[in-house]
Symmetry: C2
Subunit: 342 residues, 2 copies
Amino acid sequence: MRIALDVMGGDHAPGPIIQGAVKAVAEIPGLEIALVGDSSKILSHLKLDNPGDLHPGLQIQHCTQVVNMDEKPAFALRRKRDSSIARCWELMAERTVDAIVSAGNTGATVAHGFMTRLFLKEVLRPALSVVFPSVTGPSVLLDVGANTNAKPEHLYQYGVMGAIYAENMLKIHNPSVALMNVGSEQGKGNDLVRETAKLFEHSPLSSQFTGNVEGRDLHQGTANVVVCDGFVGNVVLKASEGLVELFLKTAAQEVLQKVQHEQAAVREAFKDLVRRYDYSEYGGAPLLGIDGICIVCHGSSGPRAIFKAIEVAANFANDGLNKHIVERLQMTPKTTAISSSP
Amino acid sequence: MRIALDVMGGDHAPGPIIQGAVKAVAEIPGLEIALVGDSSKILSHLKLDNPGDLHPGLQIQHCTQVVNMDEKPAFALRRKRDSSIARCWELMAERTVDAIVSAGNTGATVAHGFMTRLFLKEVLRPALSVVFPSVTGPSVLLDVGANTNAKPEHLYQYGVMGAIYAENMLKIHNPSVALMNVGSEQGKGNDLVRETAKLFEHSPLSSQFTGNVEGRDLHQGTANVVVCDGFVGNVVLKASEGLVELFLKTAAQEVLQKVQHEQAAVREAFKDLVRRYDYSEYGGAPLLGIDGICIVCHGSSGPRAIFKAIEVAANFANDGLNKHIVERLQMTPKTTAISSSP
């Protein structure tokens, strides 16, 4: 298992990224990590003089440029040909690595993936997928921003990929798949979701398809996999993350103000909650549908989140997820997809 | 000020709806409320024998049908011509009342409004708008579901209407207006938001327009008014409501488990939080752009939420909001709207 790790990407890179890699090669057997970034910075961070002194599971892939966190993806694609993100994708395209992991500029990482066209056979558009906590356990939401102009056949494929991910990675037997909508009744919403519902109903996935869910169902865990356009998914994911963060802060302050002697216990309870709602626990967002593996991490990822993402990439490869995806998509009669095209 | 109140709409109707009305006519001077619904049920709830015994500010508008909370709006429109929702809109269309308030089936209430075409001059599509709590104070989000196939010129008008609402009802001087998007940089997102941004930039609202915001900005209060398509707005609103509800419950349980002697104080703190994040405090969701006033309340609204919604309707009328909206929309050069049409 070989992984290209974008060492330059992230709010606090390269420190926590390298620390995550060091932990990963120490704990995951048979793992090799290519640290992609500025060679001298990497060595200096590891307090080494030359690459020969690296852990045998680590090697350095030097590159000269970094895509900043707030840089426009289009600009990065055009002007930063030797960025750590570009290099990661090159390594995967030439099969030097099996997977890439980046906590850098998400837009740029996804844009590079779309540019390489390194898509799995049968896949029309890859989808950025997140695992998030719900009342009934972890659920999968996709797409959260890879493709903001989705068509019904894209959403259908997201359902197939999300279901395979839930089954293999989250060990949910026969996961339910639902469509994000403005109401649960049939016929609700815009043309995109109405057309998509028809595709699901007449597909091999029809027995797992449970129809529409609303925004509030997301955190209730009404469905194991929730499918939506990248625009909607991105807004609802970021709003939820922001709300949890804000809420934990406000709630902790309020409760601490009212409690006099048991402040330590209250602090402990809130720390547990922070951990529970910490999306990094779930190991980053896989870009499903790539011929290879791409895990996108939060910019704020610490060593633990990076380690978890590397672990997810390794399990993804071991479970042969991509083979399952291609097989399942091949089972879908072509007429289903074609009939829905405008 | 005359209001038609849909007494039959809501999860626990008519009890809490009637109680809200009784409080409103007692406290708001010059208010007259038409209780729209089943006459005998209303009288029996008020423990009265005949309508002549009603408070002078109250009267009954009898109707025979009720739209259920989970009924399809299209079905209600066709088959329930004598529903309390239909009657409310009729009363407003014939100018018997200045405003309507309903905690019933939101989809049906909005659909009736669209069917009556009781739109303000210049308004292309009304927008369902919510006021929600953020770090910097209340903000306005619209549209949260009236129109799930919005065009750029609709979103632009939402901005105008939201700004006037924020200015007059929330007393925010020169409110900022932003566009919900998947990133804050210019050029992000889908065709709809890119076209809309151009409209804002070349409009009389350009000085208040601050560009794109992301999902996480919503609760941070980055902008006073956030504009989006009804599909996106509906999903993000319901997801946020669901998350707060879930989170308050989980957090309270967790903290209570860890605390031994100060459980009462913890409970008190969480009760305050529930109040703070209670959307009903903000008095329901106005359907902006209607030639009249329509306030949609949560199905779960209690007497206090209904009272607040009636109060909002009264202030809406007193502040002459609709006059401001028409004036401001008339200031927009026609070419702006026309150039954006596909």
